[in-house]
């Protein structure tokens, strides 16, 4: 069960600096830990996060072992027109999740 929480302002004025906050459910297993019997717990992390606005990439982040579970990524952008943000998380073991949110710019 993967779930994402997205916080994008519903409305903004043209030229406003807006904060976008995303929280993705993921264990972010580093690959450096061992079980009590000494077996390595295989790495299982999100490796990339992308945000596109109306198809155009506006933010990208690469993630590495050492990022806490359930990565919270927040960034700023300038609201210039109404449209849709598409978010994408890609990770180990074929992990791939998407989410989207719309904004109305007045």
């Amino acid at each position: 069960m993967a779930a994402a929480l997205i916080n994008v302002p519903k409305k903004a004025k043209n030229g406003d600096v807006i904060e976008i906050k995303t929280l993705m459910s993921h264990i972010m297993e580093t690959g450096f830990r061992h079980t009590t019997s000494g077996v390595v717990i295989p790495r299982d992390i999100i490796t990339s996060f992308t945000c596109r606005f109306e198809g155009e990439e506006i933010f990208r982040a690469d993630l590495f072992p050492g990022t806490a579970a359930n990565p919270f990524i927040s960034f700023f952008t300038v609201a210039s027109k109404s449209g849709k943000f598409d978010f994408e998380w890609i990770g180990d073991n074929g992990f791939s999740e998407t989410a989207s949110a719309s904004i109305t710019v007045e």
């Binding site: 069960m1 779930a3 929480l5 997205i6 916080n7 906050k21 929280l23 459910s25 264990i27 972010m28 806490a68 579970a69 359930n70 919270f72």
Partner: protein
């Protein structure tokens, strides 16, 4: 000479806080009880306050899905009997643990969910401390967020409450500590750099940053018992439920914070 020595000693002892310190631990007065939230730094508080930054809310979302999902043999979901949790589960977590008549002992919220699965859904119990049980418990408890904790007043619970209080007050383990020695006597101090806090369980299941996941009150209690190097109990043990019962009575009247974030 002897008298002079005694007169000289008294202020020294007073200064050291030895004479005036009560020999028997006392509970924190109701007015001075504080949620663990008030001991946290601004960053952790901000994390709990913002529903889209609080990772515990991810558990609540999963819990909502489980609430509506049909479970095994009887083909019944929680929602088929209880309807919308937002209405039917309001305030429920604020009075747990409660007395279960057929079992003749108190059960906590996790155990109630599993009893419901066994008695009404004909489903296997969720294992303790696994994501499904934590998520569903979080979703149910979230419905009481902001409501005052109001422990079950059933007279049958009294002996169990007394046992829980007894456990809290008595010294045990290799370090010869009782819960009360930290959480009543020294809650305003630090242990290994972290605030000791008052043992007020008003936000469980919590998202604990140290755990990197949701966890139950019993997981926290087992941590503490390990720390005292005392004999531990399995998840769901009656001793732990009795302790939960006592701890919730300490938190009487305080608002629920589930899913709380704790460092």
């Amino acid at each position: 000479m002897k008298l002079a020595a005694t007169i000289f000693l008294i202020p020294l002892l007073l200064a050291a806080g030895i004479v005036l310190r009560p020999l028997i631990a006392t509970e924190i007065p109701q007015g001075e009880r504080r949620s663990g939230y008030t001991f946290m730094g601004p960053e952790t508080k901000a994390m709990q306050d913002d529903d889209t930054a609080n990772p515990g809310m991810l558990g609540a979302l999963d819990g909502e899905a489980l609430w509506n999902r049909k479970a095994s043999a009887a083909g019944k979901a929680c929602a088929d009997c209880h309807g919308d949790a937002r209405a039917s589960m309001k305030g429920v977590a604020a009075r747990y643990p409660t007395y279960d008549k057929p079992l003749g002992r108190p059960v906590n919220l996790e155990q109630r969910i599993n009893l419901c699965r066994a008695r009404h859904q004909e489903a296997d119990p969720f294992p303790y401390e696994k994501h499904d049980l934590l998520a569903l418990t979080t979703y149910v408890a979230e419905q009481s967020r902001g409501m005052a904790i109001a422990p079950d007043a059933a007279p049958e619970l009294e002996p169990f409450l007394a046992k829980g209080r007894d456990f809290f007050m008595h010294r045990q383990g290799q370090l010869n500590l009782g819960c009360t020695n930290c959480h009543d006597d020294n809650w305003d101090k630090h242990l290994a750099g972290s605030p000791v806090t008052q043992a007020i369980p008003n936000g469980y299941p919590i998202y604990r940053l140290e755990w990197q996941s949701l966890g139950s009150l019993q997981r926290r209690l087992r941590n503490c018992i390990n720390g005292m190097r005392a004999q531990n109990f399995d998840f769901g043990a009656p001793e732990l439920v009795e302790l939960e019962l006592y701890l919730m009575s300490r938190a009487r009247g305080m608002p629920m914070e589930t899913p709380a974030v704790r460092p």
